[in-house]
């Protein structure tokens, strides 16, 4: 009987890992659809960002209360994974609490700290659910989250509640079984949190306790595998991608826009024709970005790293004053379009034109025009996403490929071209103040 369980466990584990790997490979392929951008400079500064921004969650701490709760959930997630290692090994070898004889007294310390974390996670997650559904914090209750994004957020939180409860109930039953001197259950003693749950089950028969304990154990580990496979479809993927995203974050001053060397060259040849190459065989380049293929892979990694917290949108001056622009929506739209392109590729081997594009079909002109390039969204993002970079590339496409600029901007362009100033003044009067 035990061997059947072991085989079953191995099969479930293998299947979970296989599907996870498959989906992650798809995401990797999608990100690589972006344009090449070599980012490998200043590695020490980049590692520092990984430590401070990803591991240390530095930017979360602008709101300490939320940051601490989030840190509990995050630490819980990372540290409880050590326990999962034991669970997997137990499952594969048909053992129970494999590490207990090896670790001795240290084992209790370990499980006790997991239990404390589990409780903290439970409390934090319940508070997060309340913030979303009862208090309705503005950025978490906005209309752009209606439907899947809102459900996704709640699913994840509920999932955590279930997983943590299973873990604690499992340990509580375990303790009761120890009291009954069940041979399979090692005498680890009671644990710090589950000891308070144990009395709930004290009247249960040995068989019911075993069934309950085993059910919790199986549901807990299967739950974790389900969660793992849910992750790549969810906004929750940030728990993985926040780390590479911090590493590849721009180290330039935020005010610096990406140069366009193709145009720089073109202007140079126009001003100094003698420098232009005689064999004009240069490939025609597209200016700016119209679709996800035109964005850099870092922009696409940004899109997958976004956990839709909305700190960017909350800080956006355009959004605060009721304009359509929302930096979070820009990121969500980029991911949605990229996923759509990915499904297209999976179905057709290579991308088949679907007469859609990120610009217009997912992000409108009106949104793009509302941006003041103030960098508040970039500043706010806890996982180093730069919505402004995407906005600027789409704006470039609008203006240079589609010649779509508001009339006033066309006048401003004309003034700069003719009067060397954005207003209609004579260039001769530039120093008129100096008389």
């Amino acid at each position: 009987m035990a061997i059947v369980q072991q085989i079953l466990f191995a099969l479930i584990t293998g299947t979970a890992i296989f599907f996870f790997y498959k989906k992650i490979s798809e995401i990797r392929r999608n990100i690589m659809l972006g344009t090449k951008e070599v980012i490998n400079d200043h590695s020490s500064e980049r590692w520092r960002n990984v430590l401070l921004l990803a591991f240390g969650q530095k930017k979360m701490f602008t709101n300490p209360m939320v940051a601490i709760l989030h840190f509990f959930v995050y630490a819980g997630f990372i540290i409880i994974n050590i326990e999962i290692l034991e669970i997997i090994l137990d499952g594969l070898f048909g053992m129970h609490r494999l590490f207990f004889p090896i670790l001795g007294a240290f084992y209790a310390l370990l499980i006790n700290s997991f239990e404390i974390l589990a409780l903290l996670v439970l409390v934090s997650v319940l508070l997060f659910l309340a913030r979303r559904n009862i208090v309705k914090v503005k950025r978490l209750a906005m209309g752009e989250l209606d439907g899947w994004p809102r459900n996704d957020a709640n699913f994840i939180l509920l999932f955590e509640v279930v997983l943590m409860s299973l873990f604690l109930i499992m340990n509580a039953c375990d303790y009761n079984l120890q009291q009954l001197n069940h041979e399979h259950y090692a005498q680890t003693g009671s644990f710090v949190i589950s000891q308070f749950i144990a009395p709930l089950f004290s009247g249960f028969s040995e068989t019911s306790l075993v069934v309950l304990e085993r059910s919790c154990w199986w549901l807990h580990i299967i739950g974790i595998f389900v969660f793992m496979n849910y992750l790549p479809f969810s906004k929750h993927l940030h728990i993985v991608l926040a780390f590479p995203n911090a590493y590849y974050a721009s180290l330039e001053p935020k005010g610096k826009l990406q140069n366009m060397p193709a145009i720089q060259k073109e202007v140079l040849y126009m001003m100094q024709p003698e420098l232009a190459p005689t064999d004009q065989a240069e490939a025609i380049t597209k200016f700016g970005a119209k679709d996800v293929f035109d964005l850099s892979w870092k922009n696409l990694l940004d899109a997958y790293s976004c956990t839709e917290c909305g700190r960017c949108t909350d800080a956006c001056p355009a959004n605060q004053t009721g304009k359509k622009l929302s930096p979070r929506k820009i990121m969500m739209a980029t991911r949605d379009r990229l996923e759509e392109v990915g499904r297209n590729i999976t179905a057709n081997k290579s991308f088949q034109d679907d007469s859609k594009s990120l610009l217009h079909d997912y992000i409108t002109e009106e949104e793009l025009r509302a941006c003041t390039t103030c960098n508040a969204c970039v500043q706010e993002c806890p996982v180093s996403i730069e919505p402004l970079d995407i906005i600027m590339q789409l704006r470039r496409n609008l203006v240079m490929e589609e010649s779509k600029a508001p009339q006033e901007w066309n006048m401003m362009f004309g003034n700069i071209e003719n009067n060397m100033a954005p207003w209609k003044f004579s260039p001769d009067d530039r120093d008129a103040w100096n008389t």
Partner: protein, 257 residues
Amino acid sequence: MVKTYAEFHQEGTTPEILFWVGCAGSFDQRAQKVTKAFVEILNHVGISFAILGKEEMCTGDPARRAGNEFLFQMMAYNNIQTMNMYEVKKIVTTCPHCFNTLKNEYPELGGNYEVISHAVYLQQLINSGKLALKGGGSFKGKKITYHDSCYLGRANAIYEAPREVLNALDSELVELKRCKTNGLCCGAGGAQMFKEDEPGATRINLERTKDILESGASVVASNCPFCLTMLSDGVKMNEKENEIEVLDMAEIIQRSL
């Protein structure tokens, strides 16, 4: 009369710094006052400086941020040609948009200069003792607040220098509700200055003016000609122009000389 680089060139000498006036500082009536105030400060400390005069052109910032890279590259090419011809070494400017473009975006196009914002320059002059402010003065005892422009603030992480300058005055510096990294835009950046707002509930400058009114300050210190316009308009629309003065840092320091 401020001498131009061309005039220095003719005499066979070079000034120590180039004062980059910018389009707003050159043409906008309100910003011209800032230009003149800053010139007075430069003359007061007796530094040798010049302007490009008619040879200065728009840096291309609004064109680039509106998405017109061609126009930006043309302006950058011409400006860099001019400044490299004069062998410009150090630039100080009263406009944070010009500052950002000259400092961060011109180097990879061949324009390498030491670029400094007037807010930081004023701080250096005060700290080194070259610029002594008289005690008392028109700001004595007044509540002054400081508005972080996006292009000095988040874009270039300059938060402390301007505050140090204002702290040198005999007045009380109060912070706006949203300040430093959290500062709210005035609504002009990204070429918004040159077009109507997109449809929405209110204007960004009015949203920012709320913070100013809430602060109880009677003087708002700005470091950007566009913020200056936006915030002045916001104060006027709230009919508070008699109680709240919106000034550039250069004007505040010039009045305290």
